[in-house]
Symmetry: C2
Subunit: 576 residues, 2 copies
Amino acid sequence: MIFRAWSWLAMEKADKYEKVMELGRRRGFFWPSYEIYGGVGGFIDFGPVGVALKRKIENSWRDFFLRRHEFLEIETPIITPRKVFEASGHVEHFKDPVVECKGCGRKYRVDHVLAEAGVAEAESMSLSELDNMLRSRGVTCPECRGEFSEPKYVQTMFETTIGPYAEAIGYGRPEAAQGIFVNFKRVYEVGRGRFPIAIGQIGRAMRNEVSPRQGPIRLREFTIMEFEFFFDPEEPSCPLLSKVEDTEIRIIPIQSEGKRSEKPIQLTIREAIDKKIILMEWMAYFMALSHDFVSQLGIPMEKQRFEEKLPTERAHYSAQTFDQEVYLERWGWTEIAGHAYRTSYDISRHMEYSGVDMRVFRPYTQPIEVEEKRLIPVMEEIKKDFGENYAEVVHTVESKDPEEVEREFLEKGFLKVGKYTFFRRHFNIKRFKVKDAGKRIIPHVVEPSFGADRLTYAVMEYAYSTKNDRVILKIPKKIAPIQAVVLPLMTRDELTSKAREIYLDLMEHRFDVYYDEIGSIGRRYARADEIGVPVAITVDYDTLKDDSVTVRERDTWEQRRIGVSNLLSFLHGYFN
Amino acid sequence: MIFRAWSWLAMEKADKYEKVMELGRRRGFFWPSYEIYGGVGGFIDFGPVGVALKRKIENSWRDFFLRRHEFLEIETPIITPRKVFEASGHVEHFKDPVVECKGCGRKYRVDHVLAEAGVAEAESMSLSELDNMLRSRGVTCPECRGEFSEPKYVQTMFETTIGPYAEAIGYGRPEAAQGIFVNFKRVYEVGRGRFPIAIGQIGRAMRNEVSPRQGPIRLREFTIMEFEFFFDPEEPSCPLLSKVEDTEIRIIPIQSEGKRSEKPIQLTIREAIDKKIILMEWMAYFMALSHDFVSQLGIPMEKQRFEEKLPTERAHYSAQTFDQEVYLERWGWTEIAGHAYRTSYDISRHMEYSGVDMRVFRPYTQPIEVEEKRLIPVMEEIKKDFGENYAEVVHTVESKDPEEVEREFLEKGFLKVGKYTFFRRHFNIKRFKVKDAGKRIIPHVVEPSFGADRLTYAVMEYAYSTKNDRVILKIPKKIAPIQAVVLPLMTRDELTSKAREIYLDLMEHRFDVYYDEIGSIGRRYARADEIGVPVAITVDYDTLKDDSVTVRERDTWEQRRIGVSNLLSFLHGYFN
């Protein structure tokens, strides 16, 4: 009991992060990986309740974004050959500046030590600027006060070799997006040319962080949920925008001077578009949905915001980026999603590096008539001037753009191609009308990208509450990892067998439910509250008389009697 | 049309593997990864229909094994520090023998080139035996006929470094099991001491195969579904065995001479236990379930078998292993699951390497009385012989086992501890009765481990059938990636709007359904058959009159009229 009192005192002083981590560990949500070997930073394990919660968040994301829009989901490998990340620019850009302490040998990310020294926005500095900043501020090793080495970049992808003979360099993917881009053309065809089209993926991704120290917030291996929305940049308007135009969100935009505003401004999606704060309608649409998605996970509007990234802070592929952030007690404003306007960057690069044409044919509603100029050689004139050789001579001009040829004649009076000089008399330039059925375009892309692990943590932090010194995890019932528990009031055979029967029936009907007979009814309610079970169903001696059970709600602790025959319909109604 | 005829001819000659791969690629089940970069062996991508099929197989596995037994599911990282795989024995044992051609430099797995030369069971040979076999058979490079180098082992885990400074070696896990073993104690506690207990995991695993050339059959990255069942080796009986004892399975056991029988024998689970063909009841129970699981995925009994592995073929941790195999047209008998009796190997090794006690306390139903011997020093005698020093002298004997002391006195007549020599007269040895509440045990483990990708392929191969030259994918309806399609007979507004309405209603009720209006009704039926959609719902002009639709079944092509108001209950009945 002394231990218990002490630990309660410790928890009283703890911040929300410690409380959530303690609960996570004790009740099987998540905990640091490889604990028996002393732990390895940047990895967490999900326990039984945590797996269930995370999966519900993933399925909720699927419903919210993919299913409702008929977007396509794919699954591609984590291990990716180097060529793909050369094309995507990650080999060049995916790196962090680090310094090593000359005294103790510890390594740090430069932006982190500068942030602790009060220097914000180190993200956008070059290596020499970082070096100057470290020297001018006299920043030294926080552990031993030793001097730092010059900053240098380290690659932050996990590197391996594909083929055990060290045949080819490969990386653990730092995002799921490239698996989508390299497959764009095939999935587009599988989708039978539907366009615009989005392709999504949920899966593991990896970033070899320098020194992750924030539990589930900064992970070296994590679950990413992202989709790439491909559209025609000449038809950028979003027909669904009207559905969300009144949604209000909080944005910290870049202002005219190229700096971010101090405080978030609150405005509707329509205003954000009209004021050109969000450049693309589709991006605004998905930001509105993402705001609603996070809200329904239990994080209120005033604890959410979208921070626009400065050009120097943006990833190399992005023309505009907003970090979607939620407020966490210990970590402050924390990115849980990124919204990037990736333009045609990725598809263009993969076309260039692979030599494969990934453009999309967009038919016009009606084939249009376009005027086309053609060069018609005047054979007599050409023969006269070039003699026998005339066929070869004409051939040299064939690939020339008639527009350009005409301009040359107008401006210079002649056209030189290789060793031949032509004059206006050698060609007639005629205009033809031709039908054009469509165009080939490189699609542009907007990408919302969520981190499932951080989101799971954030949901826990916002759900964490106490009542009479007891923890209640008020997870929204739609994503509650376990929906109901069935409890016999006491462990008497007649009660337990009836309770098991109800439990098995609910299982059969696909409810996420467990059965618990260990300990007093009060302790069992408390345990259920701690893991966020919205409904507790108790079988008592009255049940044996009138076939009714006590249903207790987690958030109100209210109890009511419900007939066993009405239980299924009650639960269906409660959770739908 | 010429192309179409040609391709039809090509498909006529193709084997099932080619047919399934062609369908997989064309209709979005799966295809080789990184195609635009020329492909990388051992990786596949899942398209939209493939993701749905694979997920249904995964969920079906969850239901069949975890949910029905209240087993616990966890999720742990792919990247694993070296220490874990040193403890598990993988660093030492997880390797393949390879040779390099001295002529062209190509590399091969020795067992593969020997298999092609007709030498089976190379799996169990040492490097020098392999070398001798290559020389004596005159096996040369299949590509250039060059001579081979001496065989050597290569590590077949993907290696990387954790921390971008190359701080610590890590591996991509080749199995999900170690994430379960290192967490056993914590999950056991989260489960509040329930025992026996199983812990499962579905996730990616990686094996750096030398030269994978079998599409989805031999992958370098794959999804594994496995659970570890922990039990008390002193209580090995399985109370659920009676539920499956009549299940018949086909086994190729090791016979008395230490060789495998030529042909499978068919017998019941009870017979397999009684004849000691399967050593552990729990293993037999899970093998029976696994047989049923694979059967309900559409693979008939006569295309399944369990092959016992020879001691030389078994993984280092296993005391008995059965490969669960299905017959595939091109690849022959192919492992889709492994059943291993891992004993206490993994937990013991992790205890040894981590120093953490992972034993489980097993209380006896009733505390038992045990007799305990204690040494009682006879102080007068000790004082007499050792004088002032007697306290220190007695202290030296305290940690001695009384049994051992008694034996020494009996055998030698004296006991020497350090510089002191004791005789019988210095101690009385008394017997006491004490209560013992339980014992600490290292649990034993049986493990069924499934490969989700191979299983997905096998399901496709068995579902693949043709009727009137058209492909019908007869995927069992419980795991059909898409359950229904809604089709307007023609693209007239009054039909399409009604069809969309029905489609949205089915979506709302959580059916996996799509809407299709492109092409003739016959082509749309054909498309649905090809991706295994069990039910097609057609909206026609009669629908507008009597509010009924045509429901067409994939496997029979039978059509019937059903009222729109009855559609939901029809579908619920059909799929449950």
